[in-house]
């Protein structure tokens, strides 16, 4: 029997679909209707216009820049040098963060870093939330900070600053590796043992800089590992952890622990 109530409930299915209360099967059935009949599509569009404004009350949250990098990578889009999200100022001058990274005691390193970075920074007003920078303290076996790596996700680059100049055997140089969770190390590049190195990050690399990746340094021949994988001893390696919120910015820091240092990466 087709009562007025049934009719009403049937037309309300489109409203229920937009509200989001239908189970998976019913949802799929309505989605199919929308694709195939213009009445359903029109009814759903009307309900969207009525109900979607509720989302105006949800506070916006800026996504981490690597999400955009992943989208570009997934779609194979040509990539401009930087992500379209406005850059945020402040982190490079964020002393609590540097202190936490282990550079606080090394005024020379901070001064060096600020000198290196400042001329390139163009401070802009920033939206709230989001992840613009990642950083890693790369420690040696003895717990002394060897390098600090800071990744500027907007400008797609990483700056690696030595805190303690490394003594390496003749003909050897440090190579930096990115290790996505559960994957093989990817070479980021050779880094200097006694001065800052700036490395441009391509979109594929940027897309892998999530909070589950780690950084490590191994000792390789001057030109880099001949195999594409680490061949020498690993000086430091570690997993990513959340940084103390040194300012109002949400900052994630990769903490390179020395627990596994000295092991081979592969």
């Amino acid at each position: 029997m087709n009562t007025a109530d049934d009719d009403n409930n049937h037309s309300l299915r489109y409203a229920e679909y937009v509200l989001g209360v239908l189970d998976a099967d019913t949802r799929a059935a309505v989605a199919h209707e929308i694709e195939t009949t213009s009445e359903a599509a029109t009814a759903v569009a009307l309900w969207q216009r009525r109900l979607i404004p509720l989302s105006d009350s949800i506070a916006p949250v800026t996504p981490a820049p690597y999400v955009w990098a992943r989208i570009q990578h997934a779609l194979q889009l040509a990539t401009p040098a930087r992500t379209p999200v406005p850059a945020r100022r402040g982190l490079w001058n964020n002393l609590p963060l540097w202190h936490w990274l282990g550079l606080g005691a090394s005024a020379v390193a901070v001064a060096l870093l600020v000198t290196v970075m400042l001329p390139r920074m163009r401070p802009q007003p920033a939206p709230a939330g989001g992840l613009d920078y990642m950083a890693a303290t790369i420690q040696q076996d003895n717990g002394v900070t060897g390098w600090t790596a800071t990744m500027d996700l907007h400008h797609a680059r990483m700056v690696v600053v030595p805190a303690t100049p490394q003594a390496l055997a003749q003909g050897r140089a440090p190579e930096l590796w990115l290790i996505p969770a559960g994957q093989k190390p990817i070479s980021v590049g050779m880094i200097a043992r006694d001065k800052p190195t700036t490395i441009a990050l391509d979109p594929a690399m940027l897309a892998r800089l999530g909070p589950t990746a780690a950084l490590a340094v191994s000792v390789e021949p001057i030109g880099g590992s001949p195999t594409g994988q680490p061949t020498g001893p690993v000086i430091a390696k570690g997993a990513i952890g959340a940084a103390p919120d040194a300012s109002s910015h949400a900052t994630k820091v990769a903490l390179i622990s020395h627990a596994q240092a000295g092991h081979r990466l592969v």
Partner: protein, 186 residues
């Protein structure tokens, strides 16, 4: 980010149409202007940053591929985008439904009855009108509609959370939807 002014809406419509013509610059600008709104929507529904990031990525890859089918006469760009992200988030929730039902934290989540960073002078006319109509609903029914919209829960889940029979929840929501339609279409 405010996407509520008519001029801003027009601009987003234009950017989405340009995106439909494979204009990468327009797509980047569209992302810049809308991603934090959509990410807020995803995060609110999924309650997990990693999942919300994945859904946001899926949303924008779909935007790039399907922007050509956007019709500004039928919906504004921002409605089209929010709908797309909500649908992806709801699909994700349905996939994980079993796990979520097992998670007591999620079961007893409540939604703030307080709306609104937007309920001020900046909020859109559509939003203010909808809020007025929402205020005419019975409090319990209003809160069920909100919870449904913001969490993407099914009738079953809503009934369990509110500890009422499924039939009661269905009639609450349906009555609310009819009431909203009448109020909004006046």
């Amino acid at each position: 980010m405010s996407v509520t002014s008519p001029a801003e809406r027009e601009e987003l419509n234009r950017l989405l149409i340009e995106t439909g013509r494979s204009d990468q610059k327009a797509f980047a600008e569209l992302y810049r202007r809308t991603s934090s709104k959509l990410f807020g929507v995803c995060l609110r529904m999924l309650r997990d940053r990693g999942e919300a990031e994945e859904v946001l990525q899926e949303t924008y890859t779909t935007v790039w591929r399907r922007a050509g089918s956007f019709d500004a006469a039928k919906a504004s760009a921002i409605t089209w985008l929010v709908t797309l992200s909500r649908n992806k988030a709801i699909d994700r929730l349905r996939q994980h439904r079993e796990e979520l039902l097992d998670d007591p934290e999620r079961m007893h989540e409540t939604v703030d009855e307080q709306p609104t960073p937007a309920a001020d002078a900046e909020s859109s006319q559509e939003y203010r009108r909808l809020e007025q109509c929402m205020q005419e609903l019975e409090p319990q029914q209003r809160s069920s509609v909100r919870e449904a919209f913001f969490t993407g829960a099914t009738y079953n889940e809503l009934a369990t959370r509110s500890k009422v029979p499924l039939g009661t929840m269905k009639s609450w929501i349906r009555r609310s939807l009819m009431q909203l339609r009448t109020c909004l279409d006046q």
